[in-house]
């Protein structure tokens, strides 16, 4: 097990981590602002991947799928927030969890009704189809794209949250909802937009990961679980937390599978438990009062 093998695995870990990041960041954004743990997040990922698949099949253009699917799912998320989630903000976490879980089942079943039960995969864009030689092994070009895309998305999100007016409104909403409302911010609108944006990010993850992971019934639950692990490890509601949490979990998973294959199922849970033991609110989470 030499250095080139390990560096290849590091790249694999990064590619997986960036996929996780795109999904987890939407989840953490929604939780941070709205205090809603959206268990339908995996279902939005699934629907996004399926819409991407359809666009890809019809137009043959991956980049079009990458634009259309997140926007379509964001629109769906907007409707869901206004019609379904808004009425239960005052009802506490348990009701919200039950509601979004129910929503997850409905969306997943609808997806099966529309797209069927056959496992599918998004075709890799021709531009990125090859692989490059790396010290005797090969690394797929597309995964470089995923890594670059994930890092670019993280930077863009950071700028959006920290440097724009909309980001400032979100941050205001996160730190004190009542005060923000008194300052004249339409908090209901910010909520709906953020929820839609988070769902769109999940769909973006679905399309970006589509050529690697594919899309099939049941994927929503697998993805939701990974996203929850990342978000809890990184700190609920923290944007940088979801970035570093993704990298930690992605690398732990990849190296765990390589070095200790017999523990691979347990390993990421072990890492999460270890983090929580020393930092109960996650890597970069705010301590709960």
């Amino acid at each position: 097990m030499d250095l080139s093998f390990l560096s290849l695995q590091f790249l694999n870990g990064m590619a997986f981590a960036m996929t996780l990041f795109l999904v987890a960041v939407g989840l953490t954004l929604i939780f941070g602002l709205m205090d809603v743990l959206n268990l339908a997040h995996g279902a939005f990922y699934l629907v996004g991947a399926y819409i991407g698949l359809t666009v890809l099949k019809v137009t043959g253009n991956f980049w079009l799928a990458l634009i259309i699917a997140p926007n379509a799912v964001a629109a769906l998320g907007y409707l869901v927030e206004v019609l379904v989630i808004r009425p239960v903000y005052a009802r506490g976490h348990l009701d919200q969890v039950l509601l979004t879980l129910g929503l997850a089942y409905i969306l997943a079943d609808l997806a099966r009704g529309i797209w069927g039960a056959q496992e599918e995969a998004l075709a890799t864009p021709v531009l990125l189809a090859g692989s490059v030689a790396m010290a005797g092994l090969r690394f797929p070009l597309y995964r470089f794209f995923v890594i670059a895309f994930g890092i670019a998305a993280a930077v863009a999100l950071w700028v959006l949250i920290e440097r724009t007016r909309w980001g400032a409104m979100i941050r205001a909403g996160v730190s004190n909802r009542t005060m923000a409302r008194n300052l004249g911010i339409d908090i209901g609108k910010v909520f709906a937009h953020t929820f839609a944006f988070g769902c769109g990010l999940a769909a973006l993850g679905g399309v970006v990961a589509g050529p690697i992971i594919g899309v099939a019934p049941g994927l929503d639950a697998e993805i939701l679980m990974l996203a929850l692990i990342v978000v809890v490890t990184g700190g609920l509601g923290s944007l940088p937390g979801s970035f570093w949490g993704s990298i930690l979990i992605g690398q732990a998973d990849t190296f765990g599978k390589t070095l200790f294959p017999q523990f691979s199922l347990f390993l990421i849970f072990g890492v999460m438990a270890l983090v929580l033991l020393y930092r109960p609110s996650g890597l970069l989470g705010k301590p709960q009062l």
Binding site: N12, A121, F139, R143, E222, D253, T254, K257, T258, P261
Partner: protein, 397 residues
């Protein structure tokens, strides 16, 4: 009691007696033959259940839903994979509530393992049309259990011997970390090793692995000291594995896999990523038998897609049941006789000549070795070798 009432009851009695006498003169119409179908209609195996049901109904349609003078009716229930208690509950419902005459189906080995005891207790003839759990026709076998599909051992074992003779003596194995995966690799080793082969490294991955990158890098490393990869994957894992195999530049690395990984259902999704892979399976749609050509054409016309191995198995299972009913002329009172007849049923189907091993009541399997090749713009499986007469060894001491 009034006179009028006594008169009325006497009249009624007379009517009933006359009716009975009249019907005794001609034989009563035989009741419908009720077939309980237990297949997954939800969850990850839902499309297998759908494919099998379509093929079953297609065959019964073609014979007008009658065999041996009995009208055949289906009662369908969801196997509820991955839970195994659902299958047992639905099986009991078939037996106790619906009082079916025979049961067929079951996709998952897990469900079958849970069902072997209930089948023995219920004494209801059950024809397994997919699940490969070896024990069902070995130490757990019972006279009521027939299997028309395969045992996990049969495919792996047929392939192991062939691989040792044709692909090289040192193998790396890659399979899912669950019972069927281990059984499969063990079956492969059972014949690969006596034929001079050696397994140099065993790699396994959790079921539902999104990213195969870490495993593929290990395969690549291990292949420095090996000749061939033997692989077992199914469902979404198969799609990801085959595609990522190509993405990591492993195309060209000798690989042979259990044919489920590159079967007719997976091939349209993975496309040319599978080119060069060699599989072993009891059915592939390009088999040249006239019975298969007819089956494929009919299925394509009706459902607008190529039938897969699951459809072929269910189709032959339907033929098998209908042939048995014909042979006993629809008289199924003597279950012992019916079962003896079932052991001897043989016919030509899409998979070739169908025949059971009377010892185990498990099919004697013909295993096809096929390679995925590019033909013009389409990717097709081409059969390169036919391995006949693979019997499950049954109970081995």
């Amino acid at each position: 009691m009034s006179y009028r009432f006594r008169w009325l009851s006497a009249l009624l009695m007379a009517v009933v007696l006359v009716g009975l006498a009249a019907s005794a003169g001609r034989p009563a119409p035989m009741p419908d033959y009720k077939l309980g179908v237990l297949l997954p209609y939800s969850g990850v195996f839902a499309r297998l259940g759908e494919s099998m049901t379509q093929a079953t109904e297609m065959y019964f349609d073609s014979i007008g839903w009658t065999a041996g003078g009995r009208k055949i009716t289906l009662i369908k229930e969801d196997e509820g994979v991955p839970a195994t208690d659902v299958a047992v509950r639905k099986f009991r419902k078939f037996v106790e509530q619906d009082r079916v005459d025979m049961i067929t189906g079951v996709v998952s080995s897990g469900s079958l393992a849970a069902l072997v005891d209930p089948i023995r207790e219920a004494k209801t003839i059950t024809v397994i049309s997919n699940a490969g759990f070896d024990g069902a026709t070995r130490e757990k076998k019972s006279p009521w259990l027939f299997r028309t599909s395969f045992s996990n051992w049969q495919i792996g074992a047929a392939q192991g011997e062939w691989a040792a003779k044709n692909l090289g003596k040192r193998a790396v194995t890659l399979h899912a970390d669950y019972q069927v995966g281990y059984d499969n690799v063990k079956a492969f080793a059972d014949t690969f090793e006596p034929a001079g082969g050696r397994i140099v490294e065993k790699i396994f991955y959790p079921l539902g692995t999104p990213d195969f990158a870490p495993y593929l890098a290990r395969v690549k490393l291990a292949m420095q000291n090996a000749d061939v990869v033997y692989c077992f994957a199914a469902g979404a894992d198969a799609v990801r594995l085959v595609r990522q195999w190509r993405d990591f530049g492993l195309t060209g690395t000798p690989i042979t896999c259990n044919g489920f990984m590159i079967g007719d259902d997976i091939l349209p999704v993975v496309g040319d990523a599978a080119v060069g892979m060699k599989g072993a399976l009891a059915y592939i749609s390009t088999l040249g038998y006239p019975e298969n050509r007819k089956f494929v054409a009919e299925f394509k016309q009706k459902f607008n897609r190529t039938p897969d191995v699951y459809a072929a198995q269910a189709y032959e299972t339907a033929i098998f049941i209908a042939e048995a009913l014909k042979k006993v002329n629809g008289d199924t009172h003597d279950q012992k006789h019916l079962m003896d007849v079932m052991k001897t049923i043989t016919f030509k189907g899409p998979r070739g000549t169908f025949k059971l091993d009377p010892q185990t009541q498990n099919i004697i399997l013909t295993v096809y070795i096929f390679e995925i090749v590019q033909e013009g713009s389409s990717v097709v499986p081409r059969v390169s070798k036919v391995l006949t007469n693979w019997k499950d060894p049954g109970v081995t001491k």
